[in-house]
């Protein structure tokens, strides 16, 4: 049985969905979350709550997601394979569902060497594909990974990430298809700056029939500075930032304004691509940019009336 989350309904109705991102604090302070949630409320259909993103220890996604629910905003909980084994994962999945969390994004996770605890052990008991399958079977069979029956199934709308820019490129759409086979309902892509390549990827997804079984949300992010553009181009694995974008940011007089403009242009272009069911706006530590972006792009949350 499906959870009937807001995101699920918007996408099922064929409306253009908008999701955003909310990073939990590196502290035990719930107020940070409350404030961010209030910025995004009414603008996004659902917000991703990151899970120790880039291997930096933060308040866990589940707790932050509950706080977000209490603010009247729908969370998409994230779970990586880096920090938990299958026992902990299944426990958290049951717990999340019990707390009323209805969306779960299943990720492999950035390697622990990137974060602030590089000496920690990377668990990687499962990978994103087997995690997806496990969640689907917990929801639909319903059973634990070991095969035992679950008497009260967790109902979750299952998502995953897709990266049109990673290598090997010919395999990327196929890998998304693999995740669809494993059981995802939706996916969010890596941040798009190279629209041509993304379009090619989407074309392959349509050919494979992926778009009929899975809702694809295009990832976008406003650049805050030329430095950020360069950093993402050179230092972040799996990102494709064309030189023109870096040059535009470098030449801009009001960088943040330009960053928002770039983002808006990309949204306009990707909306036209066949198979794109929504956008996922990642304004990291700049949640306030989301309303502005949506306004300039003429976007409203699919759930807004």
């Amino acid at each position: 049985m499906m959870p009937g989350s807001t995101l699920e309904k918007v996408l099922a109705d064929g409306k253009f969905a908008v999701t955003a991102e909310l990073g939990p604090p590196k502290s035990a302070d719930p107020q940070v979350i409350i404030d961010k949630a209030n910025i995004l409320k009414g603008h996004a259909d659902a917000v991703n709550i990151t899970d120790n993103q880039t291997a930096i220890a933060r308040m866990c996604s589940m707790a932050a997601a509950k706080i977000v629910i209490d603010q009247g905003l729908e969370p998409i909980m994230q779970m990586t394979c880096r920090d938990r084994n299958r026992l902990a994962m299944q426990a958290d999945i049951l717990g999340a569902a019990a707390l009323g969390i209805k969306n779960l994004l299943c990720l492999t996770g950035d390697h622990q060497s990137f974060g602030n605890h590089p000496e920690s052990m990377g668990v990687f008991d499962l990978d994103s594909v087997t995690l997806i399958r496990m969640v689907k079977e917990m929801r639909d069979v319903p059973q634990f990974q070991c095969g035992e029956e679950i008497t009260f199934a967790p109902k979750l709308y299952i998502g995953a990430a897709a990266n049109p820019y990673a290598d090997p490129f010919p395999f990327r759409a196929i890998r998304l298809a693999k995740k669809v086979d494993a059981g995802i309902d939706f996916c969010q892509t890596q941040i798009i700056y190279n629209v041509e390549k993304f379009a090619e990827f989407m074309h392959q997804c349509v050919e494979l029939g992926v778009t009929e079984r899975c809702k694809i949300l295009a990832g976008v992010a406003p650049l805050k500075s030329a430095g950020m553009a360069k950093y993402m181009k050179n230092r972040v694995a799996g990102m494709d930032v064309p030189d023109e974008v870096v040059e535009r940011m470098a030449a801009a007089k009001d960088v943040q304004d330009e960053g928002i403009n770039v983002c808006v242009e990309i949204i306009d272009r990707v909306r036209e691509i066949d198979g794109v069911a929504g956008v996922h706006i990642m304004a990291v530590e700049w949640e306030s940019a989301v309303p502005e972006i949506m306004s300039r792009a003429g976007l409203k949350a699919g759930s807004a009336d």
């Binding site: 990377g122 008991d125 990978d127 594909v129 496990m134 693999k178 694995a237």
Partner: protein, 222 residues
């Protein structure tokens, strides 16, 4: 082979400075083949220790002997007599060596001179790469003869992850993305379609995670 790297001298010295008569025991199998702990290296370390102790005014002796392998009772027993009168045995073998020495020559303290690091292949002279982590359940036939557990930073069975770019792993441009290699290998055989199959989750109970392992064999017992 098992590879090991010699510990930084300060770490070794921090231990050896506390002892008077030291026997440096070399090993002429794995660590000799990877050029870090064989007789040549054991002799070199011995020369260094002697010079350092003379300079620092530490009394006592440093001697050396090398055995063919330190993971074998007979070879360790063959030099047990040379440990008489010694306070410390410093082993340049992989960690198995000093552990066996500690068992077979129980009255003498034992210290490792090496950090054991990998089960490795020789890429070329002086370069060794990790190819196996002894997971106990080898699946490399399906991945074109390439191990995704040892050579993928995230041990993916359904890789690659989104961090694979230009054929290398997100953790370093010097680390190849093994799933790129697997993809290329299977594609060369026209088998890239196999990668749509979902594999796993892995049975980790057969690896060291399931507990320290013992292998037994049936056959003629002496």
């Amino acid at each position: 082979m098992i590879t090991a790297e010699r510990k930084p001298f300060e770490q070794i010295k921090a231990v050896t400075d506390q002892f008077e008569n030291i026997l440096v025991v070399g090993c002429n199998t794995c660590v000799a083949v990877c050029l870090t702990g064989g007789e040549r290296e054991a002799e070199l370390l011995t020369a260094q220790l002697r010079l350092q102790r003379e300079k620092d005014g530490i009394s006592g002796t440093v001697n050396t002997v090398t055995v063919l392998r330190q993971c074998e009772n007979e070879f360790v027993d063959a030099v047990a007599a040379q440990a008489d009168g010694k306070d410390l045995i410093l082993s340049t073998a992989c960690s198995i060596g000093p552990q066996l020495i500690a068992e077979r020559i129980p009255k003498v303290r034992v210290a490792p001179a090496m950090n054991t690091n990998m089960l490795a292949v020789v890429k070329k002279h002086h370069v060794w790469s990790e190819y196996c982590v002894a997971c106990g359940d080898c699946v490399i036939f399906s991945t074109g003869g390439i191990c995704p557990i040892a050579r993928c930073a995230k041990q993916l069975l359904n890789g690659p992850c989104g961090g694979s770019q230009g054929g290398h792993c997100e953790i370093s441009p010097e680390v190849p993305c093994v799933w790129q290699l697997i993809y290329d290998k299977l594609a060369a055989f026209g088998l890239e379609g196999n990668l749509s199959r979902i594999d796993g989750p892995k049975n980790w109970s057969k690896s060291n995670s399931g507990g320290p392992r013992t292998m037994k064999k049936e056959g003629f017992e002496p």
